[in-house]
Amino acid sequence: MNPQILQDLHAFYPEIAITVTLLAVIVADLAFATLRRTATFLIAGLGLIAAFVYTLPLFTLPQGTLFYGMVAIDPMAVFFKGFLILTSFFILLAAPNSREIAREHIGEFYTLLLGVTLGMLLLASAANMLMLFLALEMVSLTSYIMVGFLSHERQSNEASVKYFLFGAVSTGSMLYGITLLFGLTGTLKIAEVRDALVQGAGSGNNGVMLLVATVLILAGFGFKTAAVPFHFWCPDVYTGAPTPVTAFLSVAPKAAGFAALIRFFYTGMSSSQGTDVWGPLAAVNWTFIVILISVVTMTLGNIAALRQDNLKRMLAYSSIAHAGYIFMGTVVLNGQGLQSVLVYLVTYLFMNLGAFLIVIEIFNRIGSFDLQDYRGFWHRSPFLTIAMSLFMLSLMGIPPFAGFFGKLYVFGAAVNHNLVWYAVVGALNSVVAVYYYARVIKTMIIDGEPEEAIAAGRVRVSWANSALVWVMLIPTAGLMLFWDRVQQLTTSSMKLFFG
């Protein structure tokens, strides 16, 4: 084999570990008859831990690309790999505790989860438009199946039909945009696309074609990050999918989408203007389009969330709004903006997964996602109520919880870039958001008759579930205690391979 490829394999261990685990889970699922739930769970868990351990030493590797420019390796990609593996690991732990998933053939769920994880790792580090498209399709196709995992339930099936149709059209449009960009620049490598554009490939009459290509490519990224106007699938899919899948979709593919978007637009459509400062290319002013998308996304997400009574649907709109905030960090085009995106994603991971864990746990007991059925939960389970309240306060952005710091960094990056109006829009949006998050807290603590709630019986939480809730709760409530660590991690991770 080619020595170059053999050498590159050393930086590809996380992906290899996940591939091997995926195959092992399939085999174990077929080979074991009685123990297969435990066996597949253990293999998948160990595989993800191994992949995470293999990811850590990659931080120190020199920046560059692997496999002839297909996959980039830089601190940013490694950060996202670790982030995505960690998210998948949490979902792996949460899935067997969910009544929806546990009834089904759970080995297949683990296989699909590992498949999406593999696709996301590639998506977060794709440096070639071929790899970008393949990874995007790998994530999308597998998540369509995950959404329709409860194949005998109408809601789950309907969600997967809608997800598939929106996804196929969005990624198809993105592919068409990529072909136009390929035609303009004659190359598929994202960094070479930039060089060609700087030399004037998209100037003059080709400007329109470049604009069309950019908008079409944004359709694909918009679909993955659930940004308006490509968000229509999001509330329906989040409501219909099994809750662990919803929790997964609201964090991991969204983060991978942002990683790919940042890599594509920073290395492909921006020019370097000093250390950690970039500027949009003269040929296409993509920051303007992204700011527009971002403002509409956060506003629509927050306003639509106001009138939701189904908790999963409310969290769907809330995740749309959060994507709008994260976009704010991407358009700033400097190191501070990149860092704010990473900080926001870290805080979002814990608070959002935490909120979904509580939703899963409460559904296990009462079989409903309706906010009305959460009335008086304070009397039935103080632990779940307090945990949920803290996650909601963090999602609102109330100090001293984690969510506040994410918003602080993102808004700070916008203000420093003289986009004060943009930060003001974001801040006004977070004020609107307080209403629907506070409504959950009010329903759980104040509403409902205490006698009625006590008569319905106390809710006992299994030790596995409460441990997992604690794992989310501690970073959400106490991230500021080890803030210098987060600062250090995100500062060293915001470096992007530019060549």
Binding site: L130, E158, G172, L175, Y176, F182, T187, G240, R313
Partner: protein, 101 residues
């Protein structure tokens, strides 16, 4: 002489027809056919650009990958539509109306 513009016009027409099929058809299988049109219009672009304006075979290589992806997408799409038919005894997208609001 057939040149690059001819191919681009055909592919743009196919892309538009695909989008139109997706937007107007109520039958899920027809929508799947529209999606195939979109992917294949991109293939025509790739091969044409590769032939006329690029020095290497990147575009044609990409087209081969897209064909494989299109097959995978059709397989997943048909499986989902089949399971929809099992549940609803219909492949009409109007019947998928449980989730809204």
């Amino acid at each position: 002489m057939i040149g690059l513009p001819h191919y681009l016009i055909i592919s743009a027409a196919l892309f538009s027809l695909g989008i139109m099929a997706v937007l107007t058809r109520k039958n899920a299988v027809n929508v799947l056919m529209g999606i195939e049109l979109i992917l294949n219009s991109a293939n025509i672009n790739l091969v044409a650009f590769s032939r006329f304006s690029s020095a290497n075979l990147d575009g044609q290589l990409y087209a081969v990958f897209v064909i494989v992806i299109a097959a995978a997408e059709a397989a997943v799409g048909l499986a989902i539509v089949l399971s929809m038919y099992r549940l609803l005894k219909s492949v009409s997208l109007d019947k998928a109306d449980m989730l809204k609001g």
